[in-house]
């Protein structure tokens, strides 16, 4: 029987078959890589938590992250948020991972601090979709390095200010440099950091 390529039935059957065939292949590819993708996500999150605690840096090989994490970090569920605690040199620190809105998509970040929430131990961005080269610079090492050892201001917040653009590394002024050309992203990160400080203090109080 000769197929009539112009018939509606042929078009419908052909489209259906082609759709099913390609979608099945995609579903298989997705399923095959799923565990790997999840492992990548977990590794990313654990790396950020360890970095915030100051227990890892960019030179730490990814093969050591999992063992370090299970050894040193304790997960603790408080209400809806998961808190992470770690004892470093006899002192306990609390870290909070939180996702809040950004300019283009949600920003996820980890903030580690002492249980009273007075001195920041470290801050790491886990995930963000800000403008590359502008707001996206919140992922650059100098930006998160500003938070290391930063004393929180008496009102319990960290301030974001227009600075030199090179970073504000004075531990006593409770202020970090915002990102040049990305006022909105800076505002979103400021809200995220200060919310994390509030949560960290709440959780730190229960320890």
């Amino acid at each position: 029987m000769k197929l009539n390529r112009n018939s509606v039935i042929y078009a419908a059957v052909f489209t259906f078959v082609v759709c099913v065939a390609f979608v099945v292949i995609l579903a298989i590819a997705n399923q095959v890589t799923l565990s790997r993708v999840n492992a990548n996500k977990r590794l990313e999150s654990r790396t950020a938590i360890l970095k915030a605690f100051g227990l890892a840096d960019s030179t730490t090989p990814s093969s050591e992250i999992d063992s370090k994490y299970t050894q040193l970090v304790t997960e603790k569920s408080v209400g809806k948020t998961t808190a992470y605690t770690a004892t470093i040199d006899g002192q306990t620190y609390v870290a909070v991972k939180l996702t809040m809105p950004g300019l283009w998509g949600p920003i996820t970040a980890v903030l580690a601090t002492d249980p009273a929430g007075t001195v920041v131990r470290g801050f790491e961005i886990v995930d963000q979709q800000e403008t590359p080269g502008l707001g996206g610079r919140i992922s650059e090492p100098w930006f998160s390095a500003q938070f290391k050892g930063k004393k929180v201001r008496p009102d319990g917040t960290i301030a974001f200010e227009q600075g030199s653009g090179k970073g504000n590394f004075d531990p006593n002024n409770g202020t970090v440099d915002a990102i040049t050309g990305a006022s909105r992203t800076s505002d979103f990160v400021k809200a995220l950091v200060n919310r994390e400080l509030v949560l960290a203090r709440q959780i730190g109080g229960t320890l």
Binding site: R5, N6, Y10, A11, F14, T15, V18, C19, F22, I25, L26, A29, N30, T33, R36, V37, N40, K41, E44, G105, D127, Q129, T131, P132, G133, L134, T180, G181
Partner: protein, 231 residues
């Protein structure tokens, strides 16, 4: 669409060679077809992202053209665009899946841009203009040539933008702290200027070559051509 280019293609050249030359220069997607400009604006502020984008587009165009060309006798005319989009998005999603699983850092940086390869007009353009009426092997080459033709222009623009915008190439800092990055180079508008300048240079050059070639081509046809060549 490409009359400027066609006149300059030398005669007696294999179909494969012609397809490659067309994609890379005479019918370059950026310079002549003016396609794929959106992604040119979006990803060229960083060389590494540009390179991944170029590889992704080249893969999707070449494999998409190959598949669509192989199916061309079977595809009903009425639904051919639906099938084209389906096949091309299939390859784009494959790229996305592979990047997410094996290159998570790059996948994260490129974010939505990988999925947006499907909106690159080069893919549909080649499927419709070439793959629909040519054999699979040639269609594959055409897709590849167009991907690479798009690619080298993007890479040139990315070198300029990343160097001036960040002072680095492929993320390696090349200049000291004295360098003040040009913020404009990081933002999309700078790509508009650079693409426009590149188009201007390329088309100016092409017009000159075409003008120089004309008298030579018509030498056999008329005596006046000889005089034209001297001007």
């Amino acid at each position: 669409m490409s009359d400027v280019g066609k006149t300059s293609v030398p005669a007696k050249i294999s179909p494969a060679g012609k397809v490659m030359r067309d994609g890379l220069w005479y019918n370059n997607p950026i310079f002549v077809q003016v396609l794929g400009i959106c992604s040119t604006l979006a990803v060229t502020n960083n060389l590494r992202n540009t390179l991944i984008m170029v590889l992704g587009v080249s893969f999707a165009t070449s494999m998409g053209s190959l598949t669509l060309s192989a199916l061309r006798e079977l595809i009903p005319r009425k639904v051919r665009m639906i099938v084209q989009v389906l096949v091309l998005s299939f390859y784009v999603i494959i790229i996305d899946i592979v990047l997410r699983a094996y290159q998570p850092a790059i996948s994260k940086q490129l974010g939505p841009y990988v999925g947006l390869i499907i909106t690159n007009c080069i893919l549909m353009g080649r499927a419709e203009a070439f793959a629909a009426s040519n054999p699979p092997g040639l269609a594959f080459l055409d897709g590849l040539a167009n991907g690479l033709g798009y690619g080298w222009v993007l890479l040139v623009i990315a070198v300029i933008r990343e160097f001036l915008g960040f002072g680095s190439l492929f993320g390696f800092k090349l200049v000291g702290d004295w360098f003040t990055p040009w913020t404009i180079m990081v933002m999309a508008p700078s790509a508009f200027f650079l693409v426009a300048i590149a188009l201007w240079i390329a088309n100016n050059y092409k017009a000159k070559v075409a003008a120089a070639a004309k008298p030579a081509v018509s030498t056999g046809a008329g005596a006046s051509a000889g005089q034209g060549g001297k001007q």
